[in-house]
Subunit: 123 residues, 2 copies
Amino acid sequence: MAKDMRVALLLDFYGDLLTEKQKDSLEFYYNDDLSLGEIAANLGISRQGVRDNIKRAEAILLEMEDKLKLAEKFSEIRQRLLSVRTAVDVIDRKNMRVYRSDEINESIKTILAELDRLDKLNE
Amino acid sequence: MAKDMRVALLLDFYGDLLTEKQKDSLEFYYNDDLSLGEIAANLGISRQGVRDNIKRAEAILLEMEDKLKLAEKFSEIRQRLLSVRTAVDVIDRKNMRVYRSDEINESIKTILAELDRLDKLNE
């Protein structure tokens, strides 16, 4: 059974839509790298049951991303926020070195604090 | 049947998870303010069918938001981006009035362009 590494990422976004057993199976398989047999023992279900859970859960996650594109959107948000942060750093260095404006410094602090909170939302 | 105005917003986020008839029913009801009878005539189904579609679709949207909190997250993103924009405007005015740095001006332009693109993602 081939691992699809998109699944580990999609689990963060859509994991709450899965049943407990589906979610556990995927986490053991993708995040903890357990074998089907180990997962079966952990969950007290058959090896085939684990395989079915994983197949079904993977299909749900991929279908959700196909429809909602949440991982794609958040990846773009993350890249654009990084670009904002780089541009803010340029202003910050210039201000520190040359103008030493408190007003600009305060605004930069506000922006960086908001960017930190946005990054947290994006995790 | 009471209208729940959160539904109109959630339709933007999760509408693609509904069946065509469910989505059409909600859009006619919430966005176009048609009566159940008018929607029934438009879709060629019974008035009771329309009512069932709406009830079922509303439940799906509310359940999805309860689990994924997408509308809530994007609302917070929107507010934080607005706060970033306000702080960037302060730097922009100060720079225009006092320092006239091309380097700062270029960085501000980059930030504003990224904010515009982020706003579009958020629509």
